[in-house]
């Protein structure tokens, strides 16, 4: 079964890069892209993706708020935060908002595919946990 993925990032170049990375995996499909948090919430509501790959710092609506809203309205949709912020505090905030995964962009080539795989199976994936690493 195809895993349907929504990508949300305000930088088109980053969206292209994420799409290129994700598109390499058979059975995964990027069904849409969003340019900010508000659009991510709207598109998620319309298309019910399996996974939303969400940047944190976006205009109009912050990624953490978008994550919270998406998780509230679509409990089966998992959110993977992909961000440049290598911050334990930010990661905790993301998890509190309902994100299942947190990946730092500088580590994206190494962690992104494993993270999407894990969260699509409703498993946690955090790449910057102080005590743990990887999926559980």
């Amino acid at each position: 079964m195809t895993i349907r993925i929504l990508i949300a990032d305000d930088h088109p170049v980053v969206r292209r890069g994420l799409k290129s990375l994700i598109g390499e995996r058979a059975g995964w499909e990027v069904i849409a892209e969003a340019v900010d948090g508000e659009e991510a919430v709207e598109i998620a509501d319309q298309l019910s993706p399996d996974v939303v790959v969400l940047d944190v710092t976006m205009p109009r609506m912050h990624g953490l708020e978008a994550c919270r809203l998406i998780r509230q309205s679509l409990p089966n949709c998992e959110v993977l935060m992909v961000t440049q912020h290598d911050s334990p505090q930010m990661m905790r905030e993301a998890l509190l908002c309902g994100a299942k995964g947190y990946v730092v962009k500088s580590n994206a080539p190494r962690d992104l595919l494993a993270a999407v795989e894990a969260v699509s199976q409703h498993k946690n994936f955090v790449a910057r946990a102080p005590e743990t690493r990887g999926s559980n």
Binding site: D10, H11, P12, V13, V14, R15, R16, G17, L18, S20, L21, V56, T57, H62, L64, E65, R68, R71, Q72, P75, V82, T83, Q84, H85, S87, Q89, M90, E93, L95, L96, C97, G98, K105, S106, A108, P109, L112
Partner: protein
Amino acid sequence: MKLRILIADDHEVVRRGLCTLLQSHEGWEICGEATDGRTAVEKARQLKPDVIILDIGMPNLNGLAATRQLVQQDPLCKVIVLTITDSDQVIREALDAGARGFVLKSDAARDLVTAVEALQRNRMFFTPRVNDMVLNGFLGRGSNGSSHAPQLPQLTPREREVIQLLAEGKSSKEVASSLNLSTKTAETHRSNIMRKLGLHSIRDVVVYAVKNNIIQVQLPQLTITGDDPAAST
């Protein structure tokens, strides 16, 4: 003959995005990629690309310092800098370093192809804000009309390399290793930098480096959710 482009950015996600953007243009090819400024300078020497696209905020050697070295190596080289900020200082430094193009990362999808086309025709490409600054003759005076000498030129090119590495968290020994210096020389540079700039700790060095765009950071915006974690899942 294809236009050969070298891309340098420390994030693979961004490099992939730039590659797919540029390779879709007929007649262009990506001849190489680099993850930091030092590698970019070395690859440019080997590959002799027609256009070089450099992220400003790279580790080891940032895009501005790399631009200076590239232009020194080949005064005819065509460099486009990519940056997350278009502050006066960054613009001034990019132009002083010899960049012929200046593109904001947030607008790269819209502007980068146009920028490369311009450089291909031996023209320059800058964002409108930079054009305004150049037209207003900022190279001769600051934005408030008075002459402005930025702090950074107090440092030698080598000192600028050292301060970036220190701000990235490297010890003097690691700085020495990165720059093929003795540890003693690296420590001398460190002392000189701190004395010249009146800095007293590595924390001061980091703050200085961020303020002067030697390293670029985008500060996280944290929110207090106030939600019961159990209720959000």
